[in-house]
Every structure is written in structure tokens, then in C-alpha cells.
């Protein structure tokens, strides 16, 4: 099986993720879409690692996972606070930081 197929899959996943970030309002879904984008990138890294026969890409993928885990911790904490004050998880309701 050609490794190129993984790249197509990663591109599709990234597109789904980015569209989700742009169009969905529920903060949790937005979060999940961000995770999807991160993981599609991981998939790309691993694929290229395989194609090139080196381990660099796989190691990068581990780093990305660690950062993503940390980001989820912080992000969910913010989300909880926003929900407590506004009784809503919609990203459009947290719009005070503007002109």
C-alpha cells in the first residue's frame, strides 16, 4: 500500500478540522476539531518518516502529542471557567475582548 494514501487521509482530516474550527460554535467541538488538526499533522509526520526511512518525524509526533495534552488541560480549564460565569459553552458568547 502506497504511503501517499496516508497523506491524502491526513489532508482530509486537516480540512475537516479547520472547517470545524471556523464554523462550529460549541467550544468543545472546536477543541475536538483542533485535536483533529493536530493529529492529522502527526499522521503526516509519521508518514514522511516512513517514506524517508528516518526517525525524526516520529519523534516530532511525540512532541506534538505532549504539547497537545498540555493544551487540552489549559483549554478545558478555561472552558470550565467560561461556562461557570456565562452558563454557555458557545465561543460567540466570550466576545468582550474587542474594540
Amino acid at each position: 500500500m502506497s504511503p501517499t494514501a496516508y497523506l491524502y487521509l491526513a489532508a482530509i482530516l486537516f480540512s475537516i478540522g479547520s472547517v470545524g474550527v471556523l464554523v462550529r460554535r460549541n467550544a468543545i467541538v472546536v477543541f475536538m476539531c483542533v485535536e483533529l488538526m493536530l493529529n492529522s499533522v502527526n499522521l503526516t509526520l509519521v508518514t514522511f518518516s516512513r517514506i524517508n526511512g528516518t526517525l525524526d518525524g516520529q519523534i516530532y509526533a511525540f512532541f506534538v502529542m505532549v504539547v497537545a495534552a498540555a493544551e487540552v488541560v489549559v483549554g478545558l480549564a478555561i472552558l470550565m471557567t467560561v461556562y461557570r460565569t456565562r452558563r454557555s459553552a458557545s465561543v460567540d458568547d466570550a466576545n468582550l475582548l474587542k474594540y
Binding site: S18, V21, L22, V23, R25, V91, D92, A94, N95, L96, L97, K98, Y99
Partner: protein, 635 residues
């Protein structure tokens, strides 16, 4: 030969200290302030006499005392010292300033007795004496300028002494501003000296300009220096065209008019020209302009003096006219320098006496200055009348009073100079004598003779003793001053080392003929005044006037001229500039600020606060960058 005299600075220091104490001590000094002020002036006089005595005991060629107090500026080749110089010329001024000044301090004790600000008044008077002494004792033009500005300041403070009166405040400003015009001339002269010679001290400048026939300075430079110095002199001495402030300066208390605006400060211009005689000796043109200014002012002052009803303003225009005589004298060159100065000294005495007399009269008449409200005062105020009459005789030049000797010499000097200009100046000076006799006789008749025209509730009385005896002392000066100065002390010989020896010359007409003509001129002027004012009753309100009298009452439209030519256009100019500043410059600056403010107000609307729109921008940016990279790759 120059002698160092370590005490010279005290002459200035004593009144300066007095002034500092009086002005800084506040109300605590109210009780004894006037005694301190008078004491400081008198101590300065005693010290001045001692210094001049020791100066006179030296041989004629080494009569110069120098006191170098400290070095003010020392940059490259320029050295400016705070150095005082007492020589023959400054000596006579020191005696005049401190002598007449002390007498007027004494008089002021009585005159200002009921004024709550008497201590402040004496503080200013002492400040004036100190500044005037700096002016005449300075050894260089920069220090002279310090004194020059100092007397200007003191004059401003004293004219505006009753600052709650709008007229006094305005008069003070007018005097200060007109003086400023002249001061610019003096400042420019000093700049020019520095630029040309690199020196500003008297000895340095005079040796740099050289003597006639052996001068290596361009003629134009010397003439420019002379004219700039003359501009300074015109401002301080109220000469045409900067004369208009002197009559208004009479808003100050009368002792101020006597000391500053008659006897001392206004003669500073004559001093400046006489002191700078090596410069004027080199420029026939500059000297001619000085003489023309003097002759024009002596006529102008005498003419406007005939129309005032205000006793002090008559005396003020008389001062203007007499300083015109002095200017004419010093403008005639070496034949006239000494006589200009001698007339200045004699005038200092009799004019101060006349002003003090006028002050006593005003005091008696409840501060009314209108002579039409006076009349018949000779019986009620015998001492004032007596001293005033002696001053009057001295001023119009009746022999053997002092003005006769000194004014006669100036007229004679004009004829000695000869040529068309000399004769013209002589005739103008003689005509001035007619007018002087006319306006002074008018003043005497309106004030002391005729019917009582007093306002209701006015009860004239003789002035207190403290105000009488300074006038008596000054009256002695009026009687004997001229004769003593010229024929006993020989001031003209005393001044020769400073002012140069005049070439021997005979007047175009013989001296006797000139004297007779002069006496006829006095008789004519006084007689005309007697016909007009002595034999007829004087109306209490001024009668309607024809064209000539009307013009004279308006000071020949001098104020209107200044207002029309300088003040109004100046106002229009400032208004135009304010408009240009508000609309043009401020408009430009504010416009730029408003443009950026408005634009950024619109641009910040992009910050919506919706996180998804920010995400879209990030994506769009990423897409653009990726596309650009791909394009570069492909190309």
C-alpha cells in the same frame, strides 16, 4: 595714570543694600524704612564727595580711579569686568545723582508721609540711585547697559507706583516699551563694537577707533555706532522720535518726576553721547544727527509746553526741551560737549527744584494738577513761591541765575561752530528761549498770580518744613549754580581730559550781541505771556481752540501718529498672526491628529471579539503564505 580705589563699589553698594533691605524686610521696616532709604542715599553722597575730593587732589592727567570688583565674562579675547571708573565726567554725575537724590529723599519723607506704601517707594528710589550710579560709573559698555536697564526698571516701577490707577499702570508700560526701542539701539551698538573691535570697555573701544585723522576704522562703522548710540540716548532722554513717554511719566509721584524724569535718568542719553565722544568726534554725520535731534526736540518740547494745563506736564515738556539743548550742545562736537554737561548739571538743580515746588502746590491743592484751578498762591505759600520763582528765573535764563550762563554758552557754541548749520541751530536755540520764557511765565501767572480759582473745599497751606528746605537748597543751586560751575569751578576745564580740548573759535556774532539778543528773546516771550495771561482773567475751563492751539494741545499729534503708524498696524499684524496660527498652523496639526484618530476609529472595528473571525484571518494568512511558497517553488 590710573589709581585703584577699593572703595568705589560702596557708592553703588550702599543704596543697593538699602533697597534690598527695604524691599525684602516687608512691613517690619515700615516704621523706619524712609530713614534708612534717606540714610543710604546720604551716605553715598558723603562717600561720593570724599572720592571726588581725593580725585581733585591729584594732578589733572591722573584723575581716574578704577575699582575692578570681579571678572564677569572671560571668553577667548573678550573680557568683561564689573569695573567702576571714576573720572572727571563720572565725578560730576556722581555728585549730581547722590546730591539731588538725597535732597529728594528728604523731601519724599514729607511728600509720601500719608502713603501706606512709603517704604516700598523708598526701596525703589534707592534702587534707582544704585542703578544710575552703575550707569555713570561703569568702565565698559556692558556694565553701562546693566545700569541703563536698571534705571529703566526703577523708572517703570516708580511711574507705576500707584499701580491701582489704570492711567499710572498704562503710563509705566508706555515708558518701558518706548525705552525698550531705544535700548535695542544701545544693545546693537555694543554688539557692533564687539564684532568690530572685540572689546567693550571704554579705553579699549576708544583706542580702537582712534582719533580724527589717524583712525583705521571704516567711516561707515563709526557713523553706524554713533547713530545706534543716539537711538539709545533718544529713548532714555525722551528725544524725538521717542519722546512721547515723558509727559505720561508724570503719573508717578512728584519726587520721582523731579529725580528721575527731570534731574538724572533722562540726562543719561546726554551722558552716553558725551562719554562716547571719541566715536562722535570721528563722524561728522552722526554728530549732525545728534544736533538735529536736539534742536528739533528743544522746539517740540517748548511748543507743546505752551498748551498744557497740567502743571507737571508743562514742566515735563520743559525737561524735554532743555535736554534738547543739551543734545544740541553735545551734538556740536568738542566746542559743545562740556557746555552740554554743564547745562545738564545746572538744569538738574533748578528743574528738580521746580518739580518739588509743583509737588508742594499739588499737595496744597488736594492733588489737583490743573493750573486753571490754581491762582493767587503766592500769598499762601510764600516759601514755595520764592523757591519756585528762583527756579523759574534760572530756567528761562535771566541773569545772573544759573540758566543764563549755561544756556547762553550752548547758543554761543552753536554760533562758534559757524557755517549754515551752526547759524540755523543758534537761531532755533534762540527761538526756544522765547518759547521757554513764554510757557514758564504762563505757568507762573496761572499758578501764583491772578484770582483764586480754587475748587470748593480746597484750603491751600504751606508745605511742612521737611519739604521746604530741600527746595531752599536747590534754589541756591538755581541762583548761583551756573556762575559757580562756569566761572568759579571751571567745569569745562575740569572735563577737558575726558571730553577733549575745543579748538579756539569766535562766534559769528560777538558774545555781547548774542547775550543781548538772548535777553530780548526772554523779554519777548515773558511779555507775550503777560499780555495773554497776566492782564486777563483765566477761564476755569479751557476755551475752544483754533487749529494751531488745538494741535499743540494734542502734542502736535505725536500720540496719534504713534497710534496710527505703529500701534494700530502692530495690532493688525498680531491679529493676523493669531488668525494664521489658529487656523493655519494649529489647523494643520489638529487636522493630522484628527485624520489618524478617525481612521484608527474605523480600523479598530475589525476587532470584533469573535474568536472564529480571528481564526479565519489566521487561516487566510496561512493559505496566502502557503500559496506564495508554492508559487515561488513552481516558478
Amino acid at each position: 595714570m590710573v589709581t585703584t580705589s577699593p572703595l568705589l563699589w560702596l557708592l553703588v553698594g550702599l543704596p543697593l543694600l538699602g533697597s534690598a533691605i527695604l524691599l525684602l524686610a516687608g512691613r517690619r521696616a515700615d516704621a523706619w524704612g524712609h530713614w534708612l532709604g534717606t540714610g543710604a542715599a546720604a551716605a553715598s553722597f558723603v562717600l561720593g564727595v570724599a572720592q571726588v575730593m581725593s580725585l581733585a587732589s591729584k594732578p589733572a592727567d591722573s584723575r581716574t580711579f578704577i575699582d575692578n570688583v570681579y571678572n564677569l565674562v572671560s571668553v577667548g579675547s573678550l573680557h568683561v569686568d564689573v569695573a567702576f571708573r571714576l573720572d572727571q565726567l563720572s565725578a560730576v554725575f556722581v555728585l549730581l545723582i547722590t546730591g539731588v537724590g538725597s535732597l529728594i529723599h528728604v523731601y519724599s519723607i514729607g511728600y509720601m508721609a500719608h502713603d501706606p506704601g512709603r517704604r516700598r517707594f523708598f526701596g525703589y528710589l534707592n534702587l534707582f540711585v544704585a542703578a544710575m550710579l552703575v550707569l555713570v560709573l561703569a568702565d565698559n559698555y556692558v556694565l553701562l547697559y546693566v545700569g541703563w536697564e536698571g534705571v529703566g526698571l526703577a523708572s517703570y516701577l516708580l511711574i507705576g507706583y500707584w499701580y491701582h490707577k489704570p492711567t499710572a499702570a498704562t503710563a509705566a508700560k508706555k515708558a518701558f516699551i518706548m525705552n525698550r526701542v531705544g535700548d535695542v539701539g544701545l544693545a546693537l551698538a555694543i554688539f557692533l563694537m564687539f564684532q568690530q573691535f572685540g572689546k567693550v570697555d571704554f579705553t579699549g573701544v576708544f583706542s580702537a577707533v582712534g582719533v580724527p585723522g589717524a583712525s583705521n576704522v571704516a567711516h561707515g562703522v563709526v557713523t553706524a555706532l554713533g547713530l545706534l548710540l543716539l537711538l539709545g540716548a533718544c529713548g532714555k532722554s525722551a528725544q524725538l522720535p521717542l519722546q512721547a513717554w515723558l509727559a505720561d511719566a508724570m503719573e508717578g509721584p512728584t519726587p520721582v518726576s523731579a529725580l528721575i524724569h527731570a534731574a538724572t535718568m533722562v540726562t543719561a542719553g546726554v551722558y552716553l553721547v558725551a562719554r562716547s565722544n571719541p566715536i562722535f568726534n570721528l563722524s561728522e554725520g552722526a554728530r549732525m544727527v545728534v544736533a538735529i535731534v536736539g534742536a528739533a526736540t528743544l522746539l517740540y518740547g517748548a511748543i507743546i509746553g505752551t498748551a498744557y494745563d497740567d502743571i507737571k506736564k508743562v514742566l515735563a515738556s520743559s525737561t524735554m526741551s532743555q535736554i534738547g539743548y543739551m543734545m544740541l550742545g553735545v551734538g556740536l562736537g568738542p566746542v559743545g560737549y562740556a557746555f552740554g554737561i554743564i547745562h545738564l548739571l545746572a538744569h538738574g538743580f533748578f528743574k528738580a527744584g521746580l518739580f518739588l515746588g509743583a509737588g508742594s502746590v499739588m499737595h496744597a491743592m488736594n492733588d489737583d494738577v490743573d493750573m486753571r484751578r490754581y491762582g493767587a498762591l503766592r500769598k499762601v505759600m510764600p516759601w514755595t513761591f520764592g523757591t519756585f520763582a528762583l527756579g523759574y528765573l534760572a530756567l528761562i535764563g535771566v541773569p545772573p541765575f544759573s540758566g543764563f550762563f549755561t544756556k547762553d554758552k550752548i547758543i554761543e557754541a552753536a554760533f562758534v561752530k559757524g557755517g549754515t548749520s551752526g547759524v540755523i541751530f543758534g537761531v532755533i536755540a534762540l527761538f526756544g528761549v522765547v518759547l521757554t520764557a513764554f510757557y514758564m511765565t504762563r505757568l507762573m501767572l496761572m499758578t501764583f498770580f491772578g484770582e483764586k480759582r480754587w475748587a470748593d473745599g480746597v484750603h491751600p497751606h504751606e508745605a511742612p518744613t521737611v519739604m521746604v528746605w530741600p527746595k531752599v537748597v536747590l534754589a541756591f543751586g538755581s541762583v548761583a549754580g551756573g556762575f559757580l560751575l562756569i566761572h568759579v569751578i571751571h567745569v569745562q576745564t575740569w572735563l577737558e581730559p575726558v571730553l577733549g580740548t575745543p579748538a579756539e573759535g569766535k562766534p559769528v556774532l560777538s558774545t555781547i550781541v548774542l547775550t543781548v539778543i538772548g535777553l530780548l528773546a526772554i523779554a519777548g516771550g515773558a511779555g507775550a505771556a503777560y499780555m495773554l495771561f497776566g492782564r486777563r482773567a483765566i477761564p476755569v475751563t479751557a476755551p475752544a481752540a483754533g487749529v494751531l492751539v488745538g494741535a499743540t494741545r494734542q502734542q502736535l499729534y505725536a500720540d496719534s501718529f504713534n497710534e496710527g503708524v505703529f500701534m494700530r498696524p502692530g495690532q493688525y499684524l498680531t491679529r493676523a498672526l493669531v488668525y494664521a496660527d489658529n487656523r493655519g498652523i494649529d489647523g494643520g496639526v489638529n487636522g493630522i491628529a484628527a485624520f489618524f484618530g478617525g481612521t484608527s476609529g474605523r480600523l479598530r472595528r475589525l476587532q470584533t471579539g469573535f474568536v472564529r473571525s480571528y481564526a479565519l484571518s489566521v487561516f487566510a494568512g496561512a493559505v496566502v503564505i502557503t500559496a506564495a511558497l508554492l508559487l515561488v517553488r513552481v516558478a
